[in-house]
Amino acid sequence: MKPSPLDYVRATSVDHAIELLASDNDARLLAGGQSLMPVLNLRLGAPELVVDIGRIDELRSLEFADGDVPATRGVLRIGAAMTQTEVATHPDVNGRWPMLVAAIAQIGHPQIRNRGTVCGSLAHNDPQAELPAVAVALGATMIARSVRGERSLSADDMFHGAFTTALEADEMITAVEFPEPSPEQGWSFREFSRQPGDFATAGVAAVVRRNAGSIESRLVVFGLGGGPTRATLIEEALLNAAGPDLESSVIEQWAATLDPVDDAHTSARSKIRHAQRLLVEAVAEAWERM
């Protein structure tokens, strides 16, 4: 199908974009459009105004800054108009944020990643999308602007349920900051999809590291219906673990907390089984890389 009648404005600056967002209650931001355009074409949504932020110069930036805590770690700051391809193919990103690169490789197809943006995926928070889970696992921070000012949102606070975030209707993400993983940190990103390029049936973004004799981890599961969700029961079980092998009773206990729904392709039970297997594999792989 085709989109419903709408107005299109190409914003020339962030100020311009947030003014348009503030003045029209039914405006939607268009960055890469790889989620919004299918929504418009299928008429799942019919906004009155589409505000194109894809060519705003100040959002077309990829910056590496020194981090503050600890002092040696850097920060990758990705402007809202940077595509997934541009981020994943940057040589410094590839060496220092490998999980981000691995996750982007699983998003759609090359043609989708050539247009789709990192920040757009975070703002959209599709429950089957990779990047919200990566943002939680790596402890990313979103920078949000509106005419009321600017604020930072931690990934832990950002993502609510499916397609819902802490962003207000008049706010836009201008950038996301990914802290540089510490060298002793192990990571794994695994997902199952029915065929390459499909959305994930289930996926796991896992980070583990040793800290003062215990194991700190962030194990984030996605694809099961809600937003990215940490497997806190497993994280607690890993705290004093000597190795990556998890007690099956703990896994079952955690699996009982999952509540996916059947869909046309996969039963809820099958989704849980995928998630269990992926989590076990991801913990083992992250541990090995630690």
Binding site: K2, P5, Q34, N41, D52, H109, P110, I112, N114, P196
Partner: protein, 190 residues
């Protein structure tokens, strides 16, 4: 497509239907296959429909209109994109290349097109323009293409005549990968 800026060919203005909606229309200038095209377009007009219905370049096909099938793939500033997932006003000032832009002016096929002919890489031809544009972007890239990378690009278009193996053979020849050993990549969904 930067050579277009040096061309002396006149700008071609394509016509638009009378306004039927109260929403804004936009004057856009687009380099399409080396020709500068001017048009007034509705806000909601998809790039696919602009190419087909206004510029009459009907080689870009419409399949799913949700970014899955790949039939509408064109090159935007040299990179393959889904034209069904772009609004025509978005390409103002940019360069678009469609399947009509592949053959030489005298009709000689591009190496990728010729390889599709040589290896029976098309049957009904519906998916072919999308495959050709995606694979042309690989062929014209400076960094070498691996077989694995080729296979992941082949994933990105649907062929319902099930001709993937012939398409793969054509692409391997055109990309200089004909003698590289390797089975088709399996889904890497772990």
């Amino acid at each position: 497509m930067t050579e277009s800026s040096n061309r002396t060919t006149p700008v071609r203005r394509v016509s638009s239907p009378p306004a039927a909606e109260s929403t804004a229309r936009h004057n856009i200038t687009v380099d399409i296959n080396g020709e500068t095209i001017e048009a007034e377009v509705e806000s909601r007009l998809l790039l696919t429909d602009f190419l087909r219905d206004r510029v009459y370049l009907t080689g870009t096909h419409i399949g799913c209109e949700q970014g899955s099938c790949g039939a509408c793939t064109v090159l935007l500033d040299g990179l393959p994109v889904r034209s069904c997932l772009m609004l025509a006003p978005q390409v103002d000032g940019r360069s678009v290349r469609t399947v009509e832009g592949l053959a030489a002016p005298d009709g000689a096929l591009s190496p990728m097109q010729q390889a599709f002919c040589d290896h029976h890489g098309l049957q009904c031809g519906f998916c072919t323009p999308g495959f050709l544009m995606t694979l042309t972007s690989l062929a014209e890239r400076e960094t070498p293409v691996t077989l694995n990378e080729l296979d992941h690009h082949l994933d990105s278009s649907f062929c319902r005549c099930t001709g993937y193996m012939n398409i793969r053979a054509a692409a391997r020849h055109a990309l200089g990968l004909a003698h590289v050993e390797g089975k088709p990549a399996q889904g890497d969904g772990t």
